[in-house]
Symmetry: C2
Subunit: 352 residues, 2 copies
């Protein structure tokens, strides 16, 4: 049992309150009527002094410091890896439970990497005093919500994933770059890339994270492989990922080829997905209505559809097969970041 469980008026800090995910934390607090005590909106010194409206009144943004973390029970960090590396250990030592949205601690063997629908039980073991819990990368969370129920029911032999990632994954500045570049193109101009290495308006390009010279994988792809293995606690999971940016504003889509451990029929696979927590099946073949970026935007659920036997699969006479295709879409800022962290917080507080 941790010190947070059942605490009536926990002091909550949002570190990175002015960013895209920070804003989403506040929207979700209101939407979920999350009860808490004092709320501290923290950000860089540059953003300090500004005001953010929350539950009908203006809250002043304070600069992040050791002092600002004093007495905090739950700290939601989303201000980038450098800030987390410096301040998450401080907050934790001062007694706060930190839910960190950066990649700084995800692969730390002493830190739990949690998707509540998958391995939320890990949170029940978080002990008295401070702790750091890592929120997985957005594309990992969205993928796990679809893969985990299939793994529980059929086992998974391998998964091959291609992503369609929105500008939001690179923050509010990237979203603004997509908007302004798009306007430039429509007006006949030639935009200059700034946030991304490539023009993002009307373009599809390989994810902007660094590419490893030896493996050829970019950081985003390596994260997906490593995080999936850690969350499932199985280093033998075979997964291949290709991470690609598309000119959309906020939800990520993923095309997923999955080979199950045991053969199944498509109806059974569909049923397992429809019953899975956090998943909404959107799979209307007659109406050509499936998960899309826009349909997933602003939604809590990860949408799953295009469920079908893979084109390369061997099937028996009854249509049972081991290889299936899925197409999934999830709001990158919501379930891919802020919502997952809040669900972790709710469980730590004993409210989920």
């Amino acid at each position: 049992m941790n010190g947070l469980r059942g605490k009536r008026d926990p002091v909550v800090a949002i570190v990175g309150a002015t960013g895209a995910v920070g804003r989403e934390f506040l929207a979700l607090f209101e939407e979920r009527a999350l009860e808490h005590g004092e709320l501290r909106l923290l950000a860089s010194a540059r953003s300090a002094g500004g005001e953010i409206a929350y539950r009908g009144r203006a809250h002043t943004v304070r600069a992040l410091s050791r002092e600002a973390l004093e007495g905090v029970d739950l700290a939601l960090f989303s201000a980038g890896g450098a800030v987390s590396k410096e301040y998450a250990p401080i907050a934790s030592e001062m007694g706060a439970v930190v839910v960190d949205n950066s990649s700084a601690f995800r692969m730390d063997p002493g830190v739990a990497l949690v998707v509540p629908e998958v391995n939320g039980a890990l949170l029940d073991g978080i002990g008295e005093g401070g702790a750091i819990i890592a929120n997985p990368n957005c594309s990992t969370i969205i993928l796990m919500l679809a893969l985990h129920p299939l793994r529980e029911r059929f086992g998974i032999e391998r998964a091959i994933v291609s992503t369609y990632q929105a500008a939001s994954g690179a923050g509010a500045a990237a979203m603004e770059e997509l908007r302004s570049q798009t306007r430039t193109v429509l007006d006949g101009g030639a935009p200059e890339p700034k946030v991304f290495p490539e023009v993002c308006a009307f373009n599809v390009f390989s994810h902007n994270s660094k590419v490893d010279e030896a493996t050829g994988r970019n950081v985003e792809e390596q994260k997906m492989i490593d995080e999936v293995r850690k969350i499932w606690g199985d280093d033998s999971v075979r997964i291949s990922a290709t991470c690609i940016r598309v000119p959309t504003l906020r939800a990520h889509c993923e095309s997923v080829h999955v080979m199950l451990g045991n053969a199944a029929g498509v109806d059974e696979v569909r049923r397992v997905l429809a019953d899975a927590p956090g998943v909404e099946l959107v799979d209307d073949r007659a109406g050509n209505r499936f998960p899309t970026s826009l349909r997933a935007s602003g939604k809590d659920a990860v949408l799953v559809g295009r469920v079908r036997v893979a084109g390369d699969a061997a099937t028996d006479g009854a249509g049972w097969a081991r290889s299936f295709e899925l197409f999934i879409a999830g709001d990158q800022i919501r379930k891919g970041a802020a919502l997952n962290a809040i669900q972790i917080g709710e469980r730590l507080l004993g409210r989920a």
Copy 2:
């Protein structure tokens, strides 16, 4: 030998001259300095009477009819399946060699389905008098340029493809819809879909073609499977495709997971692709420079990059593996349609 080979001033007709592919035919004729005799620009009665500039002078568009096809040696059709079904057999009976860009005859056992770099030799057997030759679907052509050299060298066990398809694949009206919807969104409005079943601005959605109730595959995906098998003349090829629309204007991208028949090293795979006809390797890991929609737009070559051992692959100590990932981009209107048809025409004329 066909009647076209070596003909000095062939009469050429473009059927569908006012469409996106029709316009590209003319641009490519100029660019390639293709010599021909009389040029007939044909279109629906609705478009007849308009003028199109070509090689410095205005050409009048005529309505498609039996009479308009009289004396034509080479007819390039790109006016949709219904027009091809009606007029391609007429043109062929009247002695023309038809290169048809629609899906009407692709799977006809009596019609050659040709990507010149792959099975262009079939054209050398086209006999005296008229004939119909089918141009494959855009996403098939782009895929084949990357897969064929790998198959020749290593064999291919299976391929899993996810596409990132531009609006251009649905024609000029779809491109205009993307532009106008995008402007509406940027101005704060809510666009109404017309050409596509979903809003296309800032959205990713499953391909708009009809979805088969039994298999769950859409027509675009089934085309890719069927056409690849026909072009290679091998019904046992295992291929799975997920076809997705993204908000780009003209080039298609494809994320391709390929399992080779024999193990290979990544450098050897890269070399085979770099040497392949019609392919340009764009694979700069250090510079994060790979194929993109914009980089492929207006180019003849299909760009291939992100060449790496797949994340799920077993490797021996030397890094040899059977499963690889590729990311490819090709101009859908150019190599995916007009250029491939013109290359077929050039080979029929004995000029390639």
